[in-house]
Subunit: 221 residues, 8 copies
């Protein structure tokens, strides 16, 4: 037990390659604000572990540097994710990833690719926002199969409440920073979701697709 | 023309009994923060005009004082409104008043009674919040008849966006102060509504049922 | 009826070309955060419908790409709008578009062009802010002809309240992000307008000229 | 299927007694802002369903009224909950309910009793806030058994991050309104939790013990 | 010179009876949060000076205690002010005190009585808010005589901008806490006034009638 | 009288060259968000009046364009002001302009040059912030000569309170956007100044040196 | 070592009587939101330790209950503190406690009594706010003796910056909730203090006199 | 004594080279918003004093200019600090500098280099955030040696609370602007730290490593 708790001390960082063994999900590298050389070093430490290695919010430059050193890694530009050693086996439970609009895609893809790397089976339903509710209702039956639903929405952030009333599973709501004016970079949908009248909705940080993917995978287990 | 612009100067207040002739809607008395004797005086001035006289947010005490002096007036306790000389004739256009929950009733009734006093034909649809979307969808057909829709919602404030996508008329959204925690006394639904992804939604102040009623009556004309 | 509710599923987006038939106003493309190729595809889907096709907040680059594929479309650079197939017939009701200052023009033009594309007759009154009230008062008579008034203002956002007291129609107030310091990118005029002491004022999101245009066109009908 | 979607229309409210069949959790009555007579009527409607009936934030007065009409119901004063017909069978998965301080108890109990009424097996760990981390660490082993962890914290709201790093299951964080000054009635711990550096933490509204209990029970299934 | 800078040390407070000699306006006692016995002691110290002694936000209880000890003092209940030894001579310059509504009176009276105690000649214009601009315009000529204008407004706070454009003197704007919803206890009119498009407007704290009165008196000199 | 109220209508703008006759201070052009050609046109209109013409927040580009057309104009790069036809005569009253730090200079210079253009006699005291109070106190005597004091401060915004206690004239406080972190672009010193414990302090918008200069000149008269 | 880390588990709370041995300051009971019986139990547990036992924000009722059970305890009503077994020995270092106004006394006394109970030598300087800077400067020499300075201020919160520039020791700034309007219950002075231009100022939560007392005692050691 | 209080007046700035003699810490130059030539002049003035000269937030350009004129100075790019004449002697007391993550390094280094320049003995512990609490606990023993602890954290800002519970010295918490979404550029960890449940934690402004370093050095003395 003790051994998996060990971390490697790089001075500027302490990497924990075996977090997935200990916690069921891996440590990931949040790239913004870190130097590329630091990212490379930490990636190397994490790659010593058994499970998927993820670098989030990776710019193309960072991704290029990582792929050069780690040719097995793969870059998902829309999701801004670099992934290495994803899980191969798929769990039975279906994780639905929904978006209210087209501009929510990067966040939704971050969630979907993360959950997939952790072994989830993903169904995508994009651009089904509530101002044209018939688009969502067309998929009402398929939604019944959801074991978890990740719902990404900017603007008014109303979609998770409606989805929450249609499914019989937990809903992980992800406010996105898509909007303008009184949207305040995601504050509006964040508040909407926290005040959701559907009791099965919990919320993660604005644009936090990675967190939503991790939580969905833990629930799916 | 000039004559109807005249106001009566009470020193502490300047009442305009003929605003309805000039603008199509009457001056109303917003009671909080005013002394009962002041309210009585202003009510007297406004009663000299042709149209409905309204006192909003009237406590039972204020209402009692008004009804004692103006026996023709009527008190609507749920709406906290005192109304005298409402319009008798009903316009053809139907004004729908919807609420997301039961606790939004006082605001919805303020809107409904105001619009009614100004000649509107009202349809009420209460407790049709989006977390149980089938409740709203059951009335989808009836909603097609709406010439204007007033939608009152607290909590996540998501209802106006959904209604906005179902009707072919303007939607006046009224955020209510019903909620708790990150609701911040109505700020959450206010932001939701301002960011509505339905383009036909405009918004009034938190709990401002009176304003919504006035606007609906002007649109219905 | 059912047929017009159908949408076309592009995977990343679900376009609804017949929304104008169903709701009286068309779906529009909000360009920011969308890839140009996505915008082109959605524009193509929406162009299958009967009515005006609009792309809002279009940069010159996006506009060039659209006009290349859709030579019938027209770009309004000040309004940042691309419009195709606008309505030809003009409604009788006059829609007034007012601004407090010169810098509010882009938002005002977005509202005006949108309403015009939907068949409205527009009157423009620009730079009539309240700190020189005689500028506005000079147009007092003309204002009486308004069937709807769209009022765009940044800074203190005081103009809608004054206009609201001069007209006998609904006022759609549009706060703009023009200002500095304690303006907080439009928050100041937004709050001013929500607290307007004129009862006929409703509000849309900061800089939301498109929404104001849609609502005005629905009221004008 | 259709039948369980039916709701009963009381005019002021629309109750859905079979939501638990449809969604796996029941509709609950949020008492504040509702008249006692309304609460009684809705409780009656919900009691027609198969599952637990819950009234949240019930004052002693409301509870008395409910227990008089529904003697089978039980009042939990600390949790401010009235519960009738709780589930008898217990699921295997253990739901841990932790608090940072003593004053977080009412929220924690609301979560615990709710989850219990929905069939969960509950373990309570109270007053284990991070300023005396050894209190929490003493229970480190027991925490490994958690299938879900509900963590309630006011003040700095730091506990969910620490717990999130110790368990291998989803953490549902509940900010509480316990604190003063720059706490802003729960805003401080809410922001802390949304920014948690532990990826398995999702958040519900301030003081929303009921929502946390529902989500935990859905995950436990 | 030095002597007038001396203060009297009461331990819990340090009173400066000669501030008016040094600065042209007196120290005043802001009563809330102070014990009545403390208020009495400080009042006694300040009464040793030459000029007016003022206690602001005085409840009737506090006022009664002060008038019992200092029979020469006078209580203005609407303004919540206790004043002793006001200046007798009146300056030539006229100070106008305007309010947008009736509920702004307490703040306006605090400003007026303060300025009067400091030797100003006061003109009151109450309830001339911008939603009925003809009420204000009727007094346009009289406004030309103003040497300073104090403008108190709650709700949208738009009045100072309009007055600022009509006068040729400085305008001291006082936001009041009168309003509801998105008014946030005076924040809305405060922001409006800070963003005033009239360049001659400066602002004091919400409800700060006393400060406005002091500043007006200094300008009037 | 009437003639000076006339404005020139440019369509996109309405210029009032005689505002200085009517109000004692001129209309100025706030440059940001306006096209250079528009600025040139408005400048031309305003130049028809008798008094100083000012363009604020002028970039070097805008200034170059203005000086090319109006060679009599002068650019003050630190103040970002273009001024033409400043008043020649100096009033007796001294206007002091103080800053807390070196970085507040641009705002202070905007205030100083504006006031100077309107006929004020200016004294500058820069970098006398309260954390080294002896720097300010060294000028205590000179401060006694002030007829008005403009105090510009970012960071903690504490300087106006101290100056307010040293002078016997009105203080116009200008919060600046200089600071970082919890400064929130000037919000911190703005709140400090609004809550100043010196009663002779009024406040203008963040970085609004122009407004402060206008107000000071009106007081100095 | 291990033994002093032990805590006593009361179920609803976990008390640590030996925290003072381990950390140099004791655990204290923050009374609001706790039942009196709970407070009594925790007080009993903490009383088993060697050092001072403190209950903060104690109402007179709570204090009475505590003193009945623990006659050795003493109640300081102004500070709202109950203290038992204070340290007897006094450290050499002088801790200065300053307030800007009279209404800051409760917070200042909480800080002073706490520090005293922990062995500090206290000097009090009350009502020396910056709007009458000569009051503070009179004590300039005495301030040189300070080993730590606790500065409590509401309103504009400017005092810590000035004190910070006069002393050669750390300053612990305590914003108080004394003020009104744009003070927002202490937010204004909190921001002022965080942005202090004196580099030796650190800040604790609004009204947190206890924390300031603890930190001062740790520094004094 | 008097002589060391003297400052040098550069007009745009007033430098105080002997502040370290008077206060125990030097005046530093906060570079942003200052012209390079101004920075050079002030640096020159401060270099006349006995102690360390510091320029904070220096860009490489500014640093280059300084080092060219003052070859004895040294640039620390990560800390963005230019330092000349640091203290040589080291105090006994150990100052610990901790970070929650890798991206907090620039702020931590600013604190560490500042404290070092003022004679402190520094121990660095980086990337020990609470989501992997075992990383911090590994250093539990070493932490006991701390005389002061500076704790830098972005994201949830939870680290200072945990450290506060492990040490027996004052903790200076520095919120960093590292994070996204509901982090609001450091507001989230700032609030967390102000509400810390550890009583020995005080807080400085977001990213204010310099202030933390100064305070730590004063405590270490």
């Amino acid at each position: 037990m003790k051994s998996v708790r060990t971390f490697e001390d790089l001075g500027f960082a302490k990497g924990e390659p075996h977090r997935i063994t200990r916690q069921g999900f891996p440590e990931a590298i949040f790239c913004p604000g870190k130097k590329t050389e630091h990212i490379l070093s930490i990636f190397g430490v994490l790659a010593q572990g058994p499970g998927p290695v993820l670098a989030t919010r990776a710019t193309p430059q960072v991704a290029r540097a990582l792929l050069k050193h780690y040719p097995k890694a793969r870059y998902y530009p829309e999701a801004r994710l670099v992934v290495m050693n994803p899980k191969k086996v798929r769990m039975k439970t279906k994780v639905f990833v929904l978006t209210a609009g087209t501009a929510d895609l990067p966040v939704a893809e971050e969630a979907a690719i993360t959950a997939e790397a952790l072994g989830c089976r993903i169904e995508r339903l994009f651009d089904v926002g509530v101002a044209g509710i018939h688009r969502l209702l067309k998929f009402r039956k398929r939604l019944k199969e959801a074991g978890v639903a990740i719902v990404c929405a900017g603007m008014d952030g109303a979609l998770p409440s409606v989805v929450g009333g249609l499914v019989s599973c937990p809903v992980v709501a992800v406010p996105t920073s898509i909007g303008y004016g009184a949207h305040f970079k995601g504050l509006a949908p964040l508040l909407t979701m926290l005040n959701s009248c559907a009791a099965n909705v919990s919320v993660v940080n604005i644009d936090n697709g990675f967190g939503a993917g991790v939580i969905a995978s833990l629930i799916a287990k």
